[in-house]
Symmetry: C2
Subunit: 516 residues, 2 copies
């Protein structure tokens, strides 16, 4: 049965090759260039099945097609558009956002210390660089750092968290990483165990950021879905958590609860009350909390504010503050800095068993250390220029310009989408994406089925082919059965975003008409 399903999943070319190989083997014939040796050692059939199951829609088939279209455009193939716009991924600088000058000055100084003599670079950037270099082996960014990160940077992160939350944070609980993804996977690795019905279950929101489903597939853990309430602006509902947990317990051993706040792809910002409820739930049900808080600086909606799980947990007091285990993640890829290419982030662990923390230290040591230039950028983000320092005003101005522009684009997105009948877009309270629901006519569903595509994939592919706009189908993030969405970033420059939103809305209207 399983073999049959596997066989069905293969493409015809592959089946032919397999048949040929089987025939050659039976005949004892040399069978082409591989001679008597037969098929390669590593094939789709012999490879790690867990890796084969991994899916990651944000860089999936739609992006592959977008890259092909770009190449075709370069070759002069005529298209109904002149440019492919990749609104599939939260990559701010690729969309034209300028890097924050001070972050780059400090990093350049660290990498090329002869620039410390350059009179054009500000003195506070030089001071920062000297301080960071003094914390590196051989005073060089080219040395390995300690595996959990440069001590000084971990201390600066702890001070940042303490200022943010008003509750103590310790450097020894901070592990720097190669982007937040790296830290998330490290923590999941620790948590995953068992086989059969005792396998670790991990509760994740639906819609989710597909790193979670991909990591769980790779680690052979069980994904347990809880659904966010679209009708209440993607709010998290503890009753739904309870339902999901009960369902999960029938087939695995749920031990972990993942939260994404502000939400990706959904853009909601959780209330303090909701966070308290989640913590109580984790306490009662013995769940390890993972709080993905990489969009903590990206809050746009009036009345919304970021509350860290760490702060709420600490303020709730005993027994919660003393026992609920929490890992909170942050990154330099989002926020106002958008330094995706530098690959830097961290996890803070709270109430983690000291012996497990030693195991985490050991685990991260195998990969030696996170990239040092990224650690340096992270340090400056955690400890930005202060009033009175030469770079303070420029830094503040650049930071505010980015955040104001994002807030404006969040508002625009919601407004323009909701003008179009059939598109339903919740307010983008935070993060960097809209995740509108689209009504699709029955004939479009039938046409998608014929192409063996999810209906929203069918829509997004058509959108891409006809307009050059690349967004990710909702099915890549998960959605309630029978509903259809797409994720689109709010990152293109305002004027371009407006055109994009209008174009997308017009395409949708045309699409619906075509299939009605």
């Amino acid at each position: 049965m399983r073999a049959l399903r596997a066989l069905r999943a293969l493409r015809p070319r592959r089946l032919l090759a397999m048949a040929a190989a089987a025939a050659a083997a039976e005949l004892g014939a040399p069978g082409g260039p591989r001679g008597s040796r037969g098929a390669p050692v590593l094939t789709l059939e012999t490879m790690n099945p867990a890796i084969r199951r991994v899916e990651y829609a944000v860089r999936g088939p739609i992006v592959t097609r977008a890259l092909e279209l770009e190449q075709e455009l370069r070759k002069g193939v005529p298209k109904p558009f002149t440019e492919v716009i990749k609104a599939n991924i939260g990559d701010a600088q690729a969309m034209g956002q300028k890097p924050i000058t001070f972050l780059r000055q400090v990093t350049a100084l660290c990498l090329c210390p002869e620039l410390l003599q350059d009179p054009n670079l500000p003195s506070d950037a030089k001071e920062r660089a000297r301080r960071l270099l003094a914390a590196c082996g051989g005073q060089s960014a080219g040395s390995y750092s300690a595996s959990p990160g440069i001590d000084l940077v971990r201390e600066d992160v702890a001070r940042y968290i303490q200022r943010r939350d008003g509750v103590p944070a310790r450097a020894q609980d901070i592990f720097l990483s190669t982007g937040a993804s790296d830290a998330i996977v490290s923590i999941l690795k620790l948590l995953v165990s068992g086989s059969g019905s005792s396998r670790t279950g991990v509760l994740i929101p639906i819609p989710q950021y597909p790193l979670y489903s991909a990591a769980l597939a790779e680690l052979d853990a069980v994904q347990v879905n809880y659904y966010l309430a679209e009708e209440r602006c993607w709010a998290l509902d503890v009753a739904e958590l309870r339902r999901a947990l009960a369902e999960g317990r029938k087939r695995c051993c749920p031990r972990v609860l993942c939260i994404i706040n502000p939400g990706n792809p959904t853009g909601q910002v959780q209330s303090r009350e909701c966070i308290e409820d989640v913590i109580k739930f984790a306490y009662e049900e013995k769940l390890f909390l993972m709080a993905d808080e990489v969009y903590q600086d990206n809050i746009y909606a009036q009345g919304s504010a970021f509350h860290s799980f760490k702060k709420v947990l600490a303020e709730m007091g005993p027994p919660y503050s003393e026992v609920v285990e929490l890992a909170s993640f942050h990154s330099i890829s989002k926020g106002f800095m958008g330094e995706c290419g530098l690959r830097s982030g961290y996890v803070e662990v709270v109430n983690m068993d000291p012996e497990v923390k030693m195991q985490l230290s050991k685990l991260v040591s195998v990969r030696l250390c996170p990239p040092v230039p990224g650690q340096m950028v992270l340090d400056v983000v955690m400890d930005p220029p202060k009033p009175g320092e030469p770079s303070y005003e420029r830094f503040q101005a650049e930071k505010e310009a980015v955040l104001n522009s994002l807030a404006e684009k969040a508002r625009l997105t919601q407004e323009i989408f909701n003008r179009t009948p059939g598109i339903h877009c919740n307010p983008v309270q935070g993060a960097m994406y809209s995740f509108p629901r689209i009504d699709l006519p029955a004939r479009a569903l039938a046409a998608a089925k014929e192409k063996n595509q999810a209906p929203d994939m069918f829509f997004c592919m058509r959108l891409l082919e006809e307009t050059g706009i690349c967004v990710v189908p909702g099915s890549g993030f998960g959605q309630r059965e029978g509903t259809f969405h797409f994720r689109m970033t709010i990152l293109p420059p305002t004027e371009k975003l407006k055109i994009l939103l209008e174009k997308l809305s017009a395409f949708y209207t045309k699409f619906v008409k075509e299939f009605s």
Copy 2:
């Protein structure tokens, strides 16, 4: 039996805590701050057992102790030494090696493009930076690159390989990575499958670089040891491969053969003939070849030369060149550049099944992309300044100074160690380490046993406590039963290295006397 062993491995404190928790559970008592909730979710007992099995000696207990000693020194605790010298890890710049100026100039320019106006930076560095930035999304190093790396860099890597080997290389076969370790783990991930006696077996050299054993433990694959011939300068012997394979087939399904050339920790450089034999063996036995060639620029011995597996494979012609699957790894952390902190490397795959290659592309996309500054350094290493360009002479001079100094230190190490009766050091033909064998007296073995330590760990710990010299026990790399070694880098500055070698030799002599 297994439970008993697990119990024995626990420390007394833990046992007490477990007993207390068990008692509390039985009584239904609140049992301390955790109340009725009991033990944490994540403990040594409930965590992923595969991660628990991981060991990584290069950053293991001896390094932890070294860091403690450094802190004690800073606090003024009197010690029989004034400085801890970390000769445990191939971290050139931490040992005072200066970065290659041109690499850093280009990277600083990419990170801080306002420096393109700086008249003090050379024009060829600026050209490089412009070319690299043009290949980045939004012309910024802060954008995500394509997951397998920036296209332009992959093309430059392919051109480098083609120049090195005189045989074609294709950008589409190159996957950039976060250091070579990252690429090695990605390839292993693809290869690992099965359970019980059909689990994937991976042949690795003993002594090995412990990334391999750590990754195999984590991935729950079977480590199959083949021993290098210490008496023949750590040569690889195909008869020994054959023995190991036969042994492995009794308990798993060996599908992969890992080679480290130049050797780490052993420093041997393989002859072309040996490589041909290995390729024939892999062909006959249907093994996927993984060639760890990160020390390819670090060749010191007269008569030794680096031959890449790719080149030899191509030159052997059919059937080998058409079917033997190979993954070859390289890094910017070693060589003459020693840019460990930047975390950059690549794998070239040869004869990989196209569908598996697509799976590899998908796998790396989940982690988004390798750090972009490291990709930029890699690009310059692959495509260094050419004669006539403004930076050519400085670049060459810096490069040669590093390599000449390493060659001198390789020679010195062997010479000084072999002066001491009881220390046996093979020539350091390549890489960055010596791995001398030490005779240990029976009473030292008994003393080690009493402390529940491997004899070489006992020796290295004593060495560290008494001299401040940190080297890694041979048991962390694997060695023939009953032999004892340690790995020491050749990286300290020449004068310091001399003193270090003398001090270590003298300590050894004293140690032997003490236990005789």
